[in-house]
Amino acid sequence: MATQQVEAAAAGHGAEPRGKRSDDGQATYLVAIAEALWEEMERDERVFMLGEDIGVYGGAFKVTEGFIERFGPTRVVDTPIAEETIVGMAAGAAMEGLRPVAEFQYSDFMSSGFDEITTVLARYHYRAGVPLPVVLRAPSGGGVRASNFHSINPEPWFAYTGGIKIMCPAFPSDAKGLLKSAIRDDNPSVFLEHKALYRRIKEHVSDDPEALVPIGSAAVKRAGDDVTIITYGAMVHKALEAAESLAGRGVSVEVVDLRTVYPIDEDAVLRSIEKTSRALVLYESFRFLGIGSEVASIIAERAFEHLDAPVMRLAPPNHPVPFSPPLEDAFLPQVADIEAAVDRLSAW
C-alpha cells in the first residue's frame, strides 16, 4: 500500500467520524464511509460489524477507528483470520434478525470466503425465502502499487452469483449514501471501496442521516453531447480528467457513473446514448466478461438505432495486476488512453 497524505487527523477514540472532516467541512471518501457506518450503528442496534483487526486496531485502512470504544466488542467483533467463517457468521446472524456488516481487509481476500458468499448468501433467499441482509465491505482496485494480491476489482465474480447487489462508488457522498442504503437493504450486498480514493477524494457530504443514495441508480457526473463514457469507481475520476482535457479540444463528453454495478441502471445508460450516439465503456475489472462487457451488450441490444459508432470498451487485460510502476500503469487505463479512445469514437 502506498503511503498517502491523510487529509484529516483522527479526532480521538470513541468520537464520531464526522470530527475527522477537514477544517472546511469536507469528508474524504474514507471518512464518508465511516460516517455511514457510525450513523447506521447508532440508528439501528441490529447493525453490527465483524472482521479482522477492526476493533482496537481500527481496521487495515482505519475505517473503523474509534468504533469499538463507542459501540463495544459485541457490535464491533474482531474475528480470527477465517474468511469463510466471517461470511457464514454474517449469514447466520442475519438469519437471526441481525444486520451484519463484514469487513474484508482487501477485496482480494474475498476469494477465501467465496463459497459462503456464492452458495449461502447469494442463493438462500431464492431457495428458501429467508432474507440475508448482509453487507460485505472491501477495499478494491489498483493504482496504488499494491501488487498482485491487494489490487483486484472482483465485482464481476459477485455479479455472477445471481443474488448479490454490488456497489462501487466514486465519490464520498455516493459512498456514504449507498452504504447506508446497503445496510438498510434486506438483500446481501458487496460494497467495494476503491482504495485509491480513500484519502484522495473529498467533498461536502450530507449531515442528514436520512440522505440515502438509491441502489441501482446511476448518475451523470458531467453532461456532454458528443460521446458518453460509462464507468464507475476510480475510473470515474480518470474519465472526468479526460473529459476536461477533451473539452479544451472542443469534444463534449458525458460521464455516466454507474455507482451500482449490479443491478445496472440500464435506463440511465440508454438515455445518455440517445443523446450522444457514441459509447465508451470504461472499467477497471478485466476487459473480458467485465461489468463493461454487459454494459456494451445492453447498448447493442437496446440502443442500436441511436448509435453512430461501434460501442468501444477500455479496460485492463485478463491477467494479474503487476507491481512495478511502468507495468501497473500499462495495465490500467490511463487518461491518455481514454482521450485516444474518445478520439477514435468521434472520428466515426
Binding site: 459485541t74 467483533v77 474475528t79 480470527p80 477465517a82 469463510e84 467463517t85 466471517i86 461470511v87 457464514g88 457468521m89 454474517a90 449469514a91 447466520g92 446472524a93 442475519a94 438469519m95 437471526e96 434478525g97 441481525l98 451484519p100 463459497d115 459462503e116 452458495t119 449461502v120 442463493r123 438462500y124 433467499h125 431464492y126 431457495r127 428458501a128 425465502g129 429467508v130 432474507p131 445471481g162 443474488g163 434486506d186 438483500n187
Partner: protein, 352 residues
C-alpha cells in the same frame, strides 16, 4: 483431555418417561420406513431427482435432534432428513418437496433432502458444499450469545467434511468466542467412497476437540439413547455458557452415497455386522420390549401409524401443484414480495 465417554444406555433411559421412549421409537421407525419407501419409488422411476439414504444412521439423527428444544436451531446435511423430521418438519411438505411441488418447504426451488424450515422449525435449508453450514451455525450461535436467551445452534456434518477447512475454522472460532453451539459429526465411515483412514490420520474425530480447547466425545451412533445423552449434555453445557462441544457419532452408511451408488467399496463383513448386530431401529425396539415399554400390539399399532403417515404424505405430495413456471425468476430479491405472499397454485399436477 479424555475424548471419550462411556455411556450406559440403561442409565440414560431412566431419565425419559415411557411416552417419550415410544416417541423416539416411532421416529426411528418412521425414518427407516421413509428411507425404504423413497428408495423403492426412486428405483421404480417414480421419484424425481436424487436420493440420499440415512439408513443405519437413524440413531444419530433422531438422537441428536430429539435433544433439541423447538427454539434451538439445526444446521443439517443432505443425509440428515430424519433429524429434520425429529425437529418437527411436516412429512406432507417434505414429500411435496421431493416431488418438486409448491407445498414443499422450498416451493420447488430445491429438491430432495436439501430442505429446511427456518421460520417454523429453525432448520437451515441443506446445501451440498459440506460443511457449508458450520460457519452459518457460528453466526446463529453468536446471535444467541448476544441475546443471552439460552438458545443453542447444532450443526451436523459427515466424516468427510471434517477434512474441509471450514470445519476447523468454525470450531476454532466457536471455541475462541465460547459460543453456544454443538458440533455433530455423523461418522458413517464413508465419505462417498472414501473411508475414514483416507480422511484423517488421527484415531478418532472426537479427539480433535482437544486441539480446539473444547470437550469432544465419541458415541455409538447406533444406540439412540447414548447419542441423546451426549447431545443433551452438550446442549446443557452450551445453554449454560460452557461453550461448544464436539460429538462424533459412529455408525455405518448402509446404502450408497446416493441412490445411484451400489457402494461396493463397503466391505461385506462390515456391512453385515452393522445390519445384523447394530441396527439402531431393531435394537431400540428390542430394548423397549425387554423393558416392557412396548409389546406386540403397540409395535403393530406404531408401524401402522408410520405407514399411514407415509401414504398420506405421498398422496398429499402428488396432489400438490407444481410451481407456476412464470414465477421462476421471482424471489431473488426480497422486495418483490414473492416469499411473503402465498404462491400461485396454477402449476398443475401429473394428474392434470
Amino acid at each position: 483431555m479424555d475424548t471419550t465417554v462411556e455411556t450406559d444406555p440403561a442409565a440414560n433411559d431412566r431419565t425419559l418417561p415411557d411416552e417419550r421412549l415410544r416417541e423416539i421409537l416411532y421416529l426411528l421407525k418412521l425414518s427407516r420406513y421413509l428411507d425404504e419407501r423413497l428408495e423403492a419409488l426412486y428405483r421404480q422411476g417414480r421419484l424425481p431427482g436424487a436420493l440420499y439414504s440415512g439408513r443405519g444412521q437413524e440413531g444419530t439423527h433422531v438422537g441428536v435432534a430429539y435433544a433439541l428444544e423447538a427454539r434451538d436451531s439445526l444446521f443439517p446435511t443432505h443425509r440428515d432428513l430424519t433429524a429434520q423430521l425429529t425437529k418437527g418438519l411436516d412429512l406432507n411438505r417434505v414429500l411435496a418437496q421431493y416431488w418438486g411441488r409448491i407445498d414443499g418447504y422450498l416451493r420447488g426451488r430445491d429438491g430432495n433432502s436439501h430442505i429446511g424450515d427456518w421460520d417454523g422449525n429453525r432448520t437451515f435449508a441443506v446445501m451440498s458444499h459440506l460443511p457449508i453450514a458450520y460457519p452459518v451455525a457460528v453466526g446463529a450461535a453468536w446471535a444467541y450469545q448476544r441475546a443471552g436467551d439460552g438458545r443453542v445452534a447444532m450443526a451436523i456434518c459427515g466424516d468427510g467434511a471434517t477434512s474441509n477447512g471450514r470445519w476447523h475454522e468454525s470450531i476454532n472460532t466457536s471455541a475462541i468466542m465460547r459460543l453456544p453451539v454443538v458440533w455433530v459429526v455423523n461418522n458413517n465411515q464413508f465419505a462417498y467412497s472414501t473411508p475414514n483412514e483416507k480422511e484423517f490420520a488421527v484415531p478418532t474425530i472426537a479427539e480433535r476437540a482437544t486441539a480446539y480447547g473444547i470437550p469432544g466425545v465419541r458415541v455409538d451412533g447406533t444406540e439412540v439413547l447414548e447419542v441423546y445423552a451426549a447431545a443433551s449434555e452438550a446442549l446443557e453445557r452450551a445453554r449454560s455458557g460452557g461453550g461448544p462441544s464436539l460429538i462424533e457419532s459412529v455408525s455405518l452408511r448402509w446404502r450408497g452415497h446416493a441412490g445411484h451408488d451400489p457402494a461396493k467399496y463397503v466391505p461385506r463383513e462390515l456391512l453385515e455386522h452393522y445390519m445384523l448386530s447394530k441396527d439402531p431401529v431393531k435394537n431400540f425396539e428390542a430394548h423397549l420390549r425387554d423393558r416392557g415399554v412396548v409389546d406386540d400390539a403397540a409395535i403393530t399399532e406404531m408401524q401402522s401409524r408410520v405407514e399411514q403417515a407415509f401414504e398420506q404424505a405421498h398422496a398429499f405430495a402428488l396432489d400438490s401443484p407444481y410451481p407456476e413456471a412464470g414465477d421462476v425468476s421471482k424471489g431473488v430479491w426480497v422486495e418483490d414480495g414473492y416469499w411473503r405472499a402465498e404462491p400461485g397454485r396454477g402449476g398443475g399436477t401429473d394428474a392434470g
